[in-house]
Symmetry: C2
């Protein structure tokens, strides 16, 4: 099978591969070697291939091998799969791999992880798998994980790490350093700020480690606090958290409970993952694909996930056909109408998609607000009118040249202007209204806008034809 | 104007606004107050409103006010616009604001910034504006900026910060701390790692500040190095850099020149911005919108930016019309064909968009490789066949019920299966081939796939109709 794949790609690329932009692609030969090691059943060879890899790359390998190879690999030599690798796997594949691992490997894997990573690992698992993994944890660790799981899904509370390095706000640099040296075993693996708290454990500011390290021991910590400090409520949605990190260039931020007390910390690496996933979800949803889907889903799952959008599109298309059917007589008399009508609808659909994508993104990045809505709507109308006018002239000429009828040219030209104007307006107003109604505009805008541009496109073109040509 | 906007939105939302998910939206009343302060010409009021804001929020405000208000605001009171605010502005708006600022404000603004931020600020400016800003810099700073500008656009060299905290690899924790205390004035504002170098200035590892702070003074730094260490070549494309940060959860990474010597450092906050912009560009390109466009572009610029995609779509649509025109006779005899034909094409277009979006993203995240291509292609074919079969049955029944012809039902059903299968295959193969040919698949796949599904959809449906119905 691998030969066929290589041939397909080599042919397409003229044998070239994309070094300059592909510095981090996995070595193509690695997979072949792994497959061979699995085929001959050589655990030592597998271990030698996998051990040097970063957990994220091991996870990518698990995704890229075929299911039978994956199963044989994990049966022969599961020991390279630790908690970090499991954390890098997503969706169904994570459940599959967990199901294939022996209990001993799984126990080591989860005991190895920080509490926030365990939460991330188990929160999407089926109940029985989740229960089994929690059983592997020490009781205190388990309590911490269950506490985190009590926060709403996709909240800051789920995302945060509970191991926090905090100090009373009246301490000096020297006191902070001595404290950290004395408690080095309890410090989290990665931390960038020391959080200052008041006596009631409310965070009041933070100091970067670089500042502490470069200041004299007697300096009060309060002299060194950063002005970018922002505390995040534990119940805040993770997309908002990611927005705050991106907008305010935060590196880490303390998380507080309803009473404002420090309960954890979120670091930028986790926020980056959330932002990336939110963007990915938007991209897929705009194309009518369930944001949760992955290349490793089974055919039947993928089919089910894509079906709803296609079904919605079918309704849309039938609506458009109903419009056309009102003009059967006109089409029977002038078949050129049937030839040209998809052009008007298709141009409207594309212009609408342009506008709605810009609007959906501007809503996601909070750039489209009440204050500039009217200006943006006017802009889209202007763009639709100008592009509509240009394409009206082009299509008018084509209509005239192709079918020798000046009036047909006028009909298609006027329909084009109308539909591109409507496309621009619908493209901006539909997402804004959906957003206000708390419906995800990335998910639902496309269907509405396409319906509008199809219906308006066919109706304007065929209606004008009846008025002007018959 | 503001009243009208509020009314539109209130109506749409039933008067509700989205607190839960809108923690970081700007206060709606702020803009009104700013507008009033500008109208009555009160600089003190403007200053009082703007000073408490984060630079990113000031930049958002600059984006959201109308151009005349912006101009009047900056004429009355430009002093809140510092380097950080300018860095947060994008595209044409940055040039506009720079053009409106007095030289004195601009000088302070750019002298305030780190060299990497100055590079980021000036690299997209027109030559004369860039020259003017470089003139404001001190000579050493200017040399640093010009050196960075000598790296290729969108490279790690442009992204990196030149202020690096490095130490010889044989040092101890105590030596490192003493060095940092002695040089506190030269330390960058934010840093998270101490980079270890060999005598030839090649980075050999790094140590987190947390590790240094919690270790005894006599500990050798080499005992504390992180295993996530990766050096980045200065010529590497910034998208690859962002991928590496995301894939390997890096917080900062040293940048090296062709000889492997340390020349700078990139931190995760900059990588996060690059990743976010790359995603944004992909989203917009998939919808046929130039990735550079913003809500603040002028109508005429936006029109020009959207025109090319619409023009490509026009060619596509005309191709499809040419296919239809081959079947004019059939349509003249059975007008139902004209009514139903857009359904087949539209379903194919949507299924193709689903597949191509998944493929484009999988290429961007390096999840789609030679190793799993054939499996993914087979999967798309399977999904297309199954969904095609389901919709074939649905449409066959509708065709029969609507037009009372069983054979018409069969024609539309078979055409549906063919087009959804083709859509799945084209959706995956077109982006893969474009990627191999080094054409951005996000930009160009849509046009090719839509052409395929339109042409195949109309041809299969009308061709089968000729064979089976006439």
């Amino acid at each position: 099978m691998s030969d066929i794949e290589d041939d397909v790609l080599d042919e397409a690329a003229g044998g070239q591969s994309g070094e300059a932009r592909d510095s981090y692609a996995l070595d193509d030969t690695l997979l072949g070697k792994l497959r061979t090691a699995v085929d001959i059943g050589d655990p030592a060879a597998i271990d030698a291939l996998i051990t040097p890899l970063h957990p994220a790359d091991i996870a990518d390998l698990l995704e890229q091998v075929s299911p039978p190879v994956r199963e044989a690999w994990l049966k022969l030599w599961p020991s390279n799969i630790d908690g970090a690798v499991l954390s890098e796997l997503y969706g169904d594949l994570r459940e599959e791999v967990i199901g294939l691992l022996p209990d001993a490997v799984l126990t080591d894997a989860v005991r190895d992880l920080d509490s926030d990573d365990v939460v991330d690992l188990v929160e999407d698992l089926e109940d029985d798998q989740q229960e089994a993994i929690l059983d592997f944890l020490h009781p205190t660790e388990r309590a911490a994980v269950e506490q985190a799981l009590s926060y709403p899904e996709d909240s800051a509370g789920r995302l945060m790490q509970r191991e926090v390095v905090a100090a009373p706000e009246h301490w000096t640099v020297g006191e902070a350093i001595d404290y950290m040296r004395a408690h080095k075993r309890e410090l989290p693996e990665q931390f960038y700020h020391l959080i200052l708290t008041d006596p009631r454990m409310k965070p009041t500011g933070y100091v970067t480690l670089g500042r502490i390290m470069s200041s004299a021991r007697k300096t009060p910590l309060t002299d060194l606090v950063e002005d970018s400090f922002r505390a995040i409520p534990a119940t805040q949605h993770e997309d908002e958290v990611a927005y705050a990190f991106n907008q305010y260039h935060l590196i880490s931020a303390p998380v507080v409970d309803d009473d404002g007390r420090l309960v954890g910390i979120i670091t930028i690496d986790d926020a980056m993952i959330v932002l990336d996933e939110a963007n990915e979800e938007d991209i897929l949803r705009l194309a009518g694909v369930d944001g949760e889907s992955s290349l490793n889903d089974r055919v039947i799952d993928t089919t089910k996930r894509r079906f709803p959008w296609l079904f919605v599109n079918l309704i849309t298309a039938i609506l458009a056909s109903l419009v056309i059917s009102q003009f059967e007589e006109a089409i029977a008399q002038i078949v050129a109408l049937a030839v040209l009508m998809p052009i008007v609808a298709s141009m409207g659909g594309n212009a609408g998609t342009q506008s709605l994508t810009v609007a959906v993104r501007a809503l996601a990045t909070k750039d489209l607000t009440r204050s500039n809505l009217m200006r943006v709507v006017m802009r889209e109308a202007g763009v639709g009118l100008i592009n509509g006018a240009v394409f009206a002239v082009v299509m008018g000429v084509i209509g005239l040249a192709w079918f020798g009828s000046a009036m047909l040219g006028v009909v298609i030209a006027v329909a084009m202007v109308i539909n591109l104007l409507v496309a621009g307006l619908a493209g901006i107003l539909v997402p804004v209204v959906l957003d206000r109604l708390k419906v995800d505009p990335a998910l639902a805008s496309g269907a509405f806008v396409t319906t509008v541009t199809d219906v308006v496109g066919f109706f304007a073109f065929l209606g004008l034809a009846v008025l002007l040509l018959l």
